[in-house]
């Protein structure tokens, strides 16, 4: 059976490109594999290199809908999987005083009182779905256990209703900033992709495609400066997202030549630490203001 997602790495690359995401060979091959093998894809890398964007682009490129689970510390089953609508259940019990206990018991644990959360929603959907589990490393370890059933068998067990299996397997993308080592069990079930900073050529294409109207000269100056900044030892190296922000800033300020002065005035867009700023000013020999 041909894969419902992409038909080949080249196809993945072309369609992601159409969706506005410029993927390198590694990324498009791995995205194709994730679709073809129906395995979840774990994307790791520094902030702002386009991990979340990749999931969105897959959804756009394949015409699927995106279901997003944003992870955070303290995320639990009730927020990730499903929850019973207690208030509505109480109302039902109070409203039907006459009926027997068995009757009520059966009544209140039905679909009507089930609040589905992202994971269950993604599994029950019949249309093509991209499930984005964003920043998995932010959750507690217990949530990973919960993900395991979903990721390996694409099913969720609800004690009162039974097991809900996926009608149609979603394309799962997990993203992580690697602030925490994920458990072996989760990694074992996923394909792994490390997204790093792109090379100058690709970054230039990305910036130009995201920021139309950027003069060629400024684009090359900007890419060169960002590359130089990344080679310094900074606490937070500028990411693609920040290069794009910078390009937008330059357009807004109508700067058409990235002189040292212009860099010094707008450096705050790309560097977010005072010490990084100091270092950059020193290394790039910018005039102190």
């Amino acid at each position: 059976m041909p894969s419902p997602w992409f038909s080949s790495p080249a196809d993945a690359s072309a369609r992601l490109h159409e969706a506005g995401y410029l993927a390198d060979a590694d990324t498009s091959t791995t995205a194709y594999l994730a679709g073809a093998l129906e395995k979840p894809l774990l994307v790791e890398g520094p902030a702002g290199v386009g991990k979340t964007e990749l999931a969105k682009a897959v959804a756009r490129a394949t015409g699927a809908d995106l279901v997003r689970l944003q992870c955070y510390e303290g995320l639990d089953e009730a927020r990730a999987l499903y929850e019973w609508n207690y208030k509505k259940q109480l109302l039902r019990i109070q409203a039907t005083n006459e009926s027997s206990w068995e009757q009520t018991h059966d009544d209140i644990f039905t679909d009507e009182f089930l609040l589905t959360r992202p994971l269950l929603t993604a599994i029950r959907r019949e249309e093509p779905t991209v499930l984005l589990i964003d920043e998995v490393d932010k959750t507690d370890v217990e949530v990973e256990g919960l993900l395991l059933e979903v990721l390996s068998d694409f099913q969720v067990t609800i004690p009162e209703l039974g097991t809900v299996s996926a009608v149609r397997r979603p394309f799962v993308v997990l993203t992580s900033n690697a602030t925490r080592e994920l458990s072996e069990a989760v990694k074992r079930r996923c394909l792994f992709l490390h997204l790093g900073y792109p090379d100058a050529e690709r970054e230039r294409e990305i910036v130009v495609s995201q920021v139309p109207g950027l003069p060629d000269k400024v684009a090359s100056q900007l890419i060169a400066t960002v590359a130089r900044l990344r080679h310094l030892e900074l606490k937070k190296a500028p990411s693609i997202a920040e290069s794009v922000d910078w390009a937008r800033t330059l357009i807004a300020l109508e700067i058409d030549d990235l002189t040292e002065d212009a860099v010094a005035h707008t450096l705050g867009v790309v560097l977010k630490h005072a010490s990084d700023h100091e270092r950059a000013v020193q290394e790039l020999k910018l005039a102190r203001r």
Partner: protein, 456 residues
């Protein structure tokens, strides 16, 4: 060798190099390459990497082994230079000069594929060594680099880079990076050739460098030190977030009765969820006493940097360096300081820590007890860093015992392998009896120790 043999051998080699590949991941890899086409080597590499490598740090090791089992080319480069056909000598001063010219050009322009071809050619021409048996030959990256000696070309490369609009300093760094890249390619090609003759397995076992996290501080190369330094901040961030998380997990304090009852109103007075009062965090003060003599300087700087990056985990941090006399360096380690600058400052301040120039633990402990005794208290943890090699001088054990008695916990981190403790002038066993001594030779061990320290 069949494809299956190669696959199994590749898996085995990865496992013994410290990349844990499970049976199931091996099967996934086969499934993955089955849906990919075999005609592009990089696609196959990506397929294998996506299924088997699960941490970014393992990728260089994976790539090196992949290159051994799925070589880029077999035998010599097919991209022969036209002048080879003129009957020119393959090895000789003219050939060497020609190669160096082309190399300088490629390094100057940063042409990746030309560099790769040149590396292959260089090893093929100048890296051959006579083998042990008749008809056997071997290849050496070292010999190649000695003969080609690309470091003489540095000035040319710098000039080329400066012409392309970089500053002098950046050009130097860029030239260094490209030379490093070329060295890596030459090493890779020598490995490939030896693997072709002796079997990939043999080379995977002896010639692949371990990942950065497991390299000894004292045995690291320059480029690896830089890479390790880049690892320090991510490591600190990982540690810090793990620590807060662990603390949160244990945070459930006593029941907050008011909140629980108020929350139960929405469920008709049934307390569906209970609310708890938060626990007050407990944070320790830390005093670091750090040997900065030449033999352990690298290790000391890494540890100090990591401790500083983690300073939010402690309520107060003070740091002292010593060789034979003690010098306080706390003010260099501001949390917003730039790591490169801090390293330089620490190196400069080690001059203050040496009056006589030879490591003397006894004298250092005495000075510390005289001048900075107020730094220690019942809430303090004392951390001593050093190899405990005191040049056979007085060890001042009573002073150390007294210092250790005044603090809550004391530890000694030793960057030497335990089998060297007690040999020569090492006083590790003596000091180890007073203060618990922990082996700490690489980033993994350092991270694990700091984690234990702050979790206590």
């Amino acid at each position: 060798m069949t494809l299956l043999d190669t696959h199994i051998g590749f898996l085995e080699a990865l496992r013994s190099a410290g990349v844990p590949v499970s049976l199931a991941e091996g099967l996934d890899a086969i499934e993955a390459v089955a849906v990919l086409s075999w005609d592009d080597r990089e696609t196959v590499r990506t397929g294998y990497a996506a299924t088997m490598v699960k941490r970014a740090g393992q990728r260089p090791t994976f790539d090196a082994i992949f290159d051994l089992y799925f070589p880029r080319l077999v035998g010599d480069s097919s991209a022969r230079q036209p002048d080879d056909d003129d009957g020119a000598v393959r090895d000789g001063p003219e050939a060497l000069e020609g190669l160096r010219d082309r190399l300088a050009e490629a390094l100057g322009s940063g042409d990746e594929s030309a560099l790769q071809d040149l590396a292959t050619e260089a090893v093929g021409r100048f890296g051959a060594m006579p083998g042990r048996g008749p008809g056997l030959s071997s290849w050496s990256a070292y010999t190649t680099m000695q003969r080609v000696s690309p470091s003489d070309l540095v000035q040319q490369i710098i000039d080329a880079l400066v012409r392309s609009g970089l500053t002098e300093k950046e050009a130097q760094r860029g030239a260094g990076r490209r030379l490093g890249r070329f060295t890596g390619l030459v090493e890779g090609d020598a490995r490939r050739r030896i693997a072709a003759e002796k079997g990939a397995r043999h080379i995977a076992d002896v010639a692949v460098r371990p990942t950065v996290e497991t390299i000894d501080f004292t045995a690291a190369r320059r480029s690896e030190l830089e890479e390790m330094r880049r690892e320090i901040y991510p490591l600190a961030r990982r540690l810090a977030s793990r620590l807060t998380k662990e603390r949160h997990a244990r945070r459930r304090g006593p029941l907050d009765f008011r909140r629980t009852v108020r929350a139960s109103i929405s469920t008709g007075g049934v307390p569906m969820t209970t609310h708890h009062k938060p626990k007050r965090p407990h944070r320790a003060e830390l005093v670091v006493l750090c040997d900065v003599s030449g033999s352990v300087a690298n290790f000391a700087q890494f540890t100090l940097l990591l401790v500083m990056a983690l300073r939010e985990q402690f309520s107060a941090v003070r740091a002292f360096t010593f060789v034979d006399t003690v010098h306080e360096v706390t003010e260099h380690l501001r949390p917003d300081a730039d790591p490169g600058r801090v390293m330089a400052d620490l190196a400069a301040s080690s001059a203050h820590a040496a009056l006589w120039g030879r490591t003397n633990y006894g004298r250092a402990f005495n000075t510390f007890a005289d001048e900075y005794a107020d730094a220690l208290g019942p809430k303090t943890s004392l951390l001593i860093l050093g190899d405990a090699r005191s040049n056979y001088s007085d060890l001042a054990e009573p002073v150390l015992r007294e210092l250790a008695a005044r603090v809550r916990h004391a530890w000694w981190l030793n960057p030497e392998h335990p089998r060297h403790w007690g040999t020569g002038d090492s006083a590790a066993p003596t000091y180890g009896e007073i203060v618990p001594m922990v082996e700490c030779r690489n980033l993994t061990q350092l991270g694990a120790f700091v984690h234990d320290l702050t979790a206590r």
